[in-house]
Assembly symmetry: C2
Homo-oligomer: 224 residues x 2
């Protein structure tokens, strides 16, 4: 009968992650790093999952243990940008005290600036993220979750202004409407070939002025 010299669970100490979890994180980061390099170098279509895997030091099939599809891999970067966008806004600063339209348009503007370095490959996947996906997987659930987070972020902004009487009670549809506007601007931006994307900036400015004027007549709203 052997003597039990070691505890049943060896890796429960606070600073010690199991080797499995450790490798998992290492591999995930290696894949993301390789993918970002190749996407930016060759664009989404010409960067093959084989090469991404190889550059990450893994076998071909392993990539798909970490990301369900190549598209999911690219969407990761979009999601990261959205998370950072919300964090950026919530960081205290002078923007917090600006009028609502300016705050909303600053959000779109900042987003465009953030995704600019990825433009070459983002266009290939951005719009697909909206499509109703037939497969309901944990990963697509994650995406829904992020979407929900973004919408409630916008909803919070609008609700605060509604409470102050700056806005008619738009409710959820208001947030959805802004999300569509946000999307439309990204679409426009992706297709904008003018120098420095000045057409997009002009359109954004025009919309900002329009929205500001609308709000100046707040008393006249008579929504049912």
């Amino acid at each position: 009968m052997p003597i039990k010299t070691s505890p049943r669970k060896r890796n429960v100490g606070p600073g010690k992650a199991g080797k499995r979890a450790q490798n998992k994180e290492t591999n995930r980061q290696a894949i993301l790093k390789a993918a970002l390099e190749l996407f930016r170098q060759k664009g989404f279509d010409h960067a093959s999952t084989r090469e991404i895997s190889r550059r990450a030091g893994l076998a071909e099939g392993t990539l798909f243990n970490y990301f369900r599809t190549k598209e999911d891999l690219a969407l990761y970067f979009l999601e990261r940008e959205l998370v950072e966008l919300i964090a950026w806004y919530e960081h205290p600063g002078p923007l917090q005290r600006a009028p609502l339209p300016e705050r909303l348009f600053a959000i779109v503007h900042h987003h465009l600036e953030q995704i600019a370095p990825y433009e070459d490959f983002i266009g290939a996947v951005y719009l697909r993220a909206l499509q109703p996906s037939s497969k309901l997987s944990p990963l697509s659930a994650e995406r829904r979750e992020l979407n929900r987070r973004y919408l409630s972020f916008i909803r919070g902004l609008l609700a605060a202004s509604e409470a102050k009487g700056e806005l008619p009670p738009l409710g959820e549809p208001g947030a959805y409407g802004f999300a569509l506007f946000h999307l439309a601007m990204i679409t426009y931006w992706l297709n904008d070939t003018s120098a420095g994307k000045e057409n997009t900036l002009a359109a954004l400015d025009r919309c900002l002025q329009f929205a500001t004027r609308l709000l100046q007549r707040q008393g006249q709203w008579d929504w049912q």
Copy 2:
């Protein structure tokens, strides 16, 4: 020295198309017919180009002599709907005398009704049509041409209203703005799982009311 008993060009008569042109049209129609059947039966992703070709009575590679990509094949149906949408509007009827917002929203509404039968496969390609395509081919030029036609159609509607003073001078951006709205509604519609797409219809109606109210205050516009 042989006697010339037949003319140099045999197929120049008005009703006689050359056998080549004849076959070309026949094959093209066969491909479109087979594609539509399979897309509606299996959806875009599960309908293979092999099967479409086979059903059209052609070899695999032949399909790509007619359509540059599988996506182009599906986009054909979207383009056809857009052409028919314009034709539908331009057919004289009571709609012509309705206020501008109603006419614009009738256009979107009619479009949604027209593409409803294709919804299952249209979602897979619709948004991609907007993406800046890196390959500049005759086919993508065709698509640009259609886009231009749609924009100038909308531009014409807006210009007539601007001339009557019903609208501030929106110019090209106005047409582009409506196009983005149109697109946004289709996106919303594609993702709308409510019974009978009633959420989309409600949103459309809300926008219609909003636009109508805006126009009622036309005197107050002071666009630069």
